[in-house]
């Protein structure tokens, strides 16, 4: 433990309904502006659900300049590549690589990892087969015969869950350790944890960790609605009247590297990765334990991994997805670890929706910004704290972090729980 290298964060990137830069998203959060609005991806006039936090004002070419790539990847991949590029460019890694000789560059690339948390697929991708199904009229033999004339030959490649890994690699030449985690809502939090673990274990010197997803599509929305998981009004974490989550879409990314490496190239750290914990409740796809046992276990594992006591944590970015069961059990889990006096808690999904696979790393990027500003953002949709949860240190107005350490929580289908701990860099100390 003591011999493992310290890991710093040297680049951040994000795009979601609330903005396409970290600063813009932070401004929206600080200003209490939610990106949740009417769904435009399809006509929801007759639908029971009308709202989501879509990315509406960013065109594909702003996200990824290379037009040829647009035909080879899907919408979620565009988000992921954009966030990754932003983080990598901010980190200054590429200009550092340019200073190296050919052998140094090759070594650099082989020691640079890429870790992605990917939504893993969607229903809409198969709709590209509809013209073929119409032509086939139920006859599979015709379906097979007409296949190549009616479906894009690149269909499979376009929908690979690991496209962001592949194209970050091809674009930047990175060739090191990699993983594409398709573990639903905890995918990107696990990507960060695995990227950091890879650096700690000496398998890589640096890595990009990316989360991306675009869950706003008719079939997914309808299923979530029928399970009672979606709100038609607003996402109100921990509120008495909370009635579900609201989808968002987008991506976020980090560059992680050893502090020795960052110092050597005089890169200013934006934060430090401290530890992670992961536990499933083993409750199946939709259920979760009312006592939040898997989450409290994940938090304890993260604290142990970081060598920190609960008192060291200065703020918590909760998963806070706004559903009855998840928020209640999350509050239980936090209290089980932190006792009666937990640090300030916030949840940010009211501002940009629930990005599913991308939510963990986006929350992490915003947590670092919050620590830099010394502000725990308020939850403007919190009207009245759920009495079953009270007392609980959430607020509709900003709070002050108790220290420079943030805990970020991610939960998902399969009874999954992941906790991440980071140290922020205050804007004052940077000067």
């Amino acid at each position: 433990m003591s011999s493992s290298p310290r890991i710093v964060i040297s680049g951040l990137g994000a795009v979601c309904g609330a903005g396409r830069t970290v600063d813009a998203i932070w401004d929206a959060v600080q200003g209490g502006r939610s990106a949740v609005t009417l769904i435009s991806h399809w006509d929801t006039a007759k639908w029971p659900v009308h709202r989501a936090a879509e990315i509406q004002s960013v065109d594909n070419q702003t996200l990824v300049e290379d037009r040829k790539l647009h035909k080879l990847i899907s919408r979620t991949d565009l988000f992921g590549l954009y966030a990754a590029s932003t983080a990598i460019e901010q980190s200054g890694l590429l200009s550092h690589r340019d200073t190296l000789g050919p052998d140094g560059r090759s070594h650099f690339n082989e020691r640079t990892g890429v870790f992605a948390g990917s939504g893993g697929g969607n229903y809409q991708s198969s709709y590209e087969f509809f013209p073929l199904l119409t032509t086939a009229g139920g006859n599979l033999q015709t379906f097979g015969r007409e296949l190549s004339s009616l479906v894009n030959p690149m269909w499979l490649l376009k929908n690979l869950p690991n496209n962001v890994l592949c194209h970050v690699g091809i674009r930047y030449g990175f060739k090191g350790a990699n993983a594409c985690i398709t573990n639903q809502c905890v995918g990107s939090a696990l990507a960060v944890a695995e990227a950091a673990a890879s650096i700690r274990a000496g398998e890589a010197d640096r890595a990009a960790a990316i989360g991306h997803d675009s869950p706003i599509e008719p079939e997914t929305v309808l299923h979530y609605h029928r399970f009672g998981l979606l709100s038609e009004a607003a996402l109100r974490p921990f509120d008495r009247d909370r009635d579900g989550t609201v989808f968002g879409e987008g991506a976020a990314a980090l560059v992680l590297e050893t502090s020795v490496g960052a110092q050597a190239r005089k890169a200013a750290p934006l934060g430090e990765f401290l530890g992670s914990g992961c536990a499933t409740e083993g409750t199946g796809i939709l259920d979760l334990r009312p006592d939040g046992d898997g989450l409290s276990q994940a938090i304890r594992l993260a604290l142990a991994d970081a060598g920190l006591s609960p008192e060291a944590v200065g703020m918590i970015v909760a998963h806070g997805n706004g559903t009855r069961a998840s928020d209640a059990s999350e509050a239980m889990a936090i209290r089980r670890v932190f006792g009666e006096n937990p640090p300030p808690v916030t949840g940010l999904k009211w501002a940009y929706g629930h990005l599913i696979a991308a939510s963990g790393v986006l929350d992490l990027v915003l947590a670092l910004t919050a620590l830099r500003q010394g502000v725990v953002p308020g939850i403007p949709t919190l009207n009245s704290l759920d009495p079953d949860i009270a007392p609980f240190p959430v607020s509709s107005t900003p709070q002050q972090p108790r220290s420079d350490v943030a805990l970020i929580l991610s939960r998902g289908f399969g009874g999954m729980n992941v906790a991440l701990l980071v140290r922020g860099v205050s804007s004052r100390s940077v000067g």
């Binding site: 893993g120 229903y123 296949l147 060739k175 398709t182 639903q184 499933t280 289908f413």
Partner: protein, 432 residues
């Protein structure tokens, strides 16, 4: 280091096109019997490729009494449940009240799968016109079947298996196409070395043998079209090879800390000794002809395992039987092993069971464990006319009895992810 951080393989399970359990699979692989044939699961007669490697006569309900469990399980999840149960029985240990938080799960899971019938149903209600009519979903029960939704979630297999087997620790699902199974085992190895779990249930499962899955690979012209000779269609390293054969199945392994496995007197097939993991960053579907990408994965696996190349006696190659893969992989093998490569028995068991995509690396890890235990390098079937560009010592004609000190298993994926796992004979493991 005072404690022994080595990881033992103490249980294995498999459902494959050549057998619905380990014993049958292994006996058919040793004999070089093919599991390839005309696709029977649906009418493939109009497709350019009409052959596949299907799992046959699969009756999972025999092993499981829990009816509700199977409602939430797609075909691929049923393979996974069956293979995982076999691995746990084989290991003679499973999660309980006292150990469940120390059990982890890591699996290479296939791409999100919607059954063809479900897609046809959505098409009927929403897709018959020129534009997608989302309103068609609203009134229909079938396109909005909640259980069908659960089955399609990317971590549905993880959810099912962790619940059924009572796993409460670290859990992950990964997908890097054909490298998924290998990368899942690599992740499991790392999680255990980090001390985040004492036991792991790790493997992979996939089934793309449906009209949509077959379409995807047909469109890329990646599959063999030898529809008249399916048993010969997968012929890795042969000069006449013309594509891979799509398979399905699952493989699971039980991993355990060496010391505790020894203390409880468990059978140990092999040490899972090392993992290498690289990104080719060349093209989506291929590695560089020089083997760049796979080379680094193999070198890392050897370094990670503390192995010199000359202790490797067997390589279970990725060997898909596509022109590009086999050439690039052989170049990589020679680059990593040097002249010793001529002494290394190389085979691709895909010659008999086809390409299991996200499950391939896991099933092939099971094969490596058996190869080491029984001292047999399984045959690479169908090699008649060796390709001079694939200049390695392929196990030809019949399986080769030989003591295997160490084995490597390669899994190289679309998207450029490369996985190499290193296995060591248990008698060659020294633990302080």
């Amino acid at each position: 280091m005072t404690t022994c951080r080595r990881i033992a393989i103490t249980g294995i399970g498999a459902v494959t096109p050549v057998g619905n359990d380990v014993r049958t699979t292994w006996s058919n692989l040793r004999a070089g019997r093919s599991g390839l044939g005309a696709i029977r699961g649906f009418d493939a007669s109009g497709f350019p490729t009409q052959i596949g490697a299907e799992v046959k006569d699969f009756k999972p309900e025999r092993a499981f009494r829990d009816r509700k469990l199977f409602k939430f399980a797609s075909r691929t999840h049923q393979f996974a449940l069956t293979a995982a149960e076999e691995a746990l029985v084989d290991a003679g240990i499973r999660p309980d009240q006292a150990t469940c938080q120390r059990w982890g799960f890591s699996a290479g899971a296939g791409m999100m799968g919607v059954t063809f019938a479900e897609l046809e149903s959505v098409h009927r209600f929403c897709g018959a016109g020129d534009d997608f009519d989302a309103d068609g979903l609203l009134d229909q029960r079938f396109p909005a079947d909640p259980i069908a939704f659960c089955r399609t979630q990317t971590n549905a297999g993880l959810a099912l298996l962790t619940r059924h087997f009572g796993i409460r620790g670290y859990a992950t699902a990964v997908h890097t196409a054909c490298a998924s199974g290998g990368q899942a085992l690599g992740t499991a190895l790392r999680v255990m070395r980090r001390g985040q779990a004492d036991f792991m249930l790790a493997g992979g499962y996939d089934s793309m043998l449906n009209p949509i899955g077959l379409s995807g690979f047909c469109l890329l012209e990646a599959l063999s079209t030898d529809n008249d000779t399916p048993e010969r269609a997968s012929r890795p390293f042969d000069a006449t090879r013309n594509g891979f054969v799509l398979g399905e199945g699952a493989g699971f392994l039980v991993l355990e800390n060496w010391e505790s496995a020894r203390l409880r007197g468990a059978q140990i097939y092999a040490e899972l000794a090392g993992d290498g993991n690289s990104l080719s960053s060349y093209r989506i579907t291929d590695s560089h002809p020089s083997g760049d990408g796979p080379i680094q994965a193999m070198q890392q696996a050897l370094t990670d395992a503390g192995m010199a190349p000359d202790v490797v006696d067997y390589v279970n190659a990725h060997g898909t039987s596509t022109p590009m893969n086999d050439r690039s992989e052989c170049a990589a093998l020679r680059a990593v092993m040097g002249p010793h490569i001529d002494q290394v028995a190389v085979s691709s068991t895909k010659s008999c069971m086809g390409h299991l995509i996200a499950a391939a690396g896991a099933v092939e890890a099971v094969v490596c464990a058996l190869a080491i235990r029984d001292g047999i390098a399984p045959v690479n079937a169908n090699l008649v006319q060796p390709d001079p560009d694939c200049d390695v010592n392929v196990v030809r004609g019949q399986s080769r009895p030989m003591r295997i000190r160490a084995a490597l298993s390669n899994s190289l994926g679309f998207g450029g992810s490369n996985s190499c796992l290193a296995f060591r004979h248990p008698d060659d493991v020294t633990c302080p």
